[in-house]
Symmetry: C2
Subunit: 306 residues, 2 copies
Amino acid sequence: MQLLKNFNTLINRLQSLENRKKVVLVCPNDSHTEYVINRALEEGFVDFTLVLGGTRAPFIDRFLADYPDHVTVHETATPDDAAAYAVKLVHDGGADVLMKGTLNTDNLLRAVLNKEYGLLEKGHVMTHVTVVEIPSYDKLLVFSDAAVCPRPTDEQFKAILGYVLGVCRSLGAESPKVALIHCTEKVSEKFPHTLSYESMKEMARNGEYGDCCVDGPMDVKTACDSDSGAIKGISSPVVGNADALIFPNIESGNVFYKTLTLFAKAETAGMLCGTTAPIVVASRADSGESKFNSLALACLADKVNK
Amino acid sequence: MQLLKNFNTLINRLQSLENRKKVVLVCPNDSHTEYVINRALEEGFVDFTLVLGGTRAPFIDRFLADYPDHVTVHETATPDDAAAYAVKLVHDGGADVLMKGTLNTDNLLRAVLNKEYGLLEKGHVMTHVTVVEIPSYDKLLVFSDAAVCPRPTDEQFKAILGYVLGVCRSLGAESPKVALIHCTEKVSEKFPHTLSYESMKEMARNGEYGDCCVDGPMDVKTACDSDSGAIKGISSPVVGNADALIFPNIESGNVFYKTLTLFAKAETAGMLCGTTAPIVVASRADSGESKFNSLALACLADKVNK
């Protein structure tokens, strides 16, 4: 499988799959969600179950009329009922991907975390993974965590590394190169995450994560620019050529995300990992395009948590 | 005074000043430092004292011959002797700015922190301030701390805010707008820096920092893009129009610095604040241009710590 270099080739990959992905969408009421549904049906890689929560937007009947074989509608009374129904559907194997429409993320997550029919198995760690297309970088770059884990513990870092590698492999990286981010190369007890980094590298060297190369701590520039590595005299397959970055805390991950989208014309996709199926919970400030990319990513990487 | 929008106008401002700035440079041995000296002499806003530490690069005599009125050379035996001599010169009022050439930052800082003739007065906080010119932002943006304070305490945050405001005013911002960065707008005990942010805002409202507007927590996009603020329904003079950003920890500041320079074609200048004179300690990976910008910034903002 060839390495996917941008979101267009990611869509093409989805179109070449034998089966369409089954996506359950909770409360599709707003125009961004309408755009996402429309685009995914046009591109032809999704069958939708649209779960309504007391509101039936005018576009629902248009999609039912235009794509009767690929759209199913289920009506419930409230957004919370819609969330519960959708989560159960994923739980019972009726959908590959869960996507949030117009309801609060907290309300959807309450259903996702339900002990009986929820999607987070005991001992698993829920985290957010972003994939970004940067005009000046020659491949898609995966990173975590910009949105969910504030200060990953040792165990959480190890889980995050697993999900990030899974996403990289879904994108066609056979031996993903992962950079563990800090501001310097020094490992120190003053920065406990650098100690977690040491044990992640040890596990990777021992083959516990399959074929991959994990290195760090290093800064963003060393990870993504070979000149910087050369000046610092650092030699590693990861330096200047990272497929993925793991950030030490939520603030640094979030700064990376916001800086790239605002100042570097980057396009993003994001999803929750660690649950039994990927969950798309794009935020209001994301563009329709970004939400569509997120759905496409989740469809391609739907086996990442298995 | 007009707001400086880029580094070119900053240089022009320095050229328009009545007196040249006095810069003492420790161990000028490498080609980047040669570039900086040459450029500053050509632009005509600096008088240099070059303190040699056992090495006399060939370009030293050329500068002495070409600019006899603006270059003084002092020879010492070792880099540590050079550092001590240069720091004492600043301490005794013989220079406005201290700049590092080819020696380890740690060796220079040992002299800077000397109890007898050093430059950090009791109770002051040393911090790093960066100024960045981003092609897609319409003015110079000031931020801290990408390099020195790992996890600012309440007291350190308050000092950093003072230095950042001083740099903004040196750049011509009469009422600087400062954004306190986090990944969300929520203030919470789970993130102690957001509690520091509350007391900084309170002090700013009480006039303790002069004319300015300090707001947050908010993310980078909300601080620098008015659309993001509008979508989130946040209204503040800072939103979308920040003159300066204060980061919660060194990793997020460093990620901002590296991401901008690598992916957004940004040009930077940086210096240490909190000491009795600004100190330029550019790192090996910085370009000659960036080192020259740093010197120019330190010359313009040399009164920021007074």
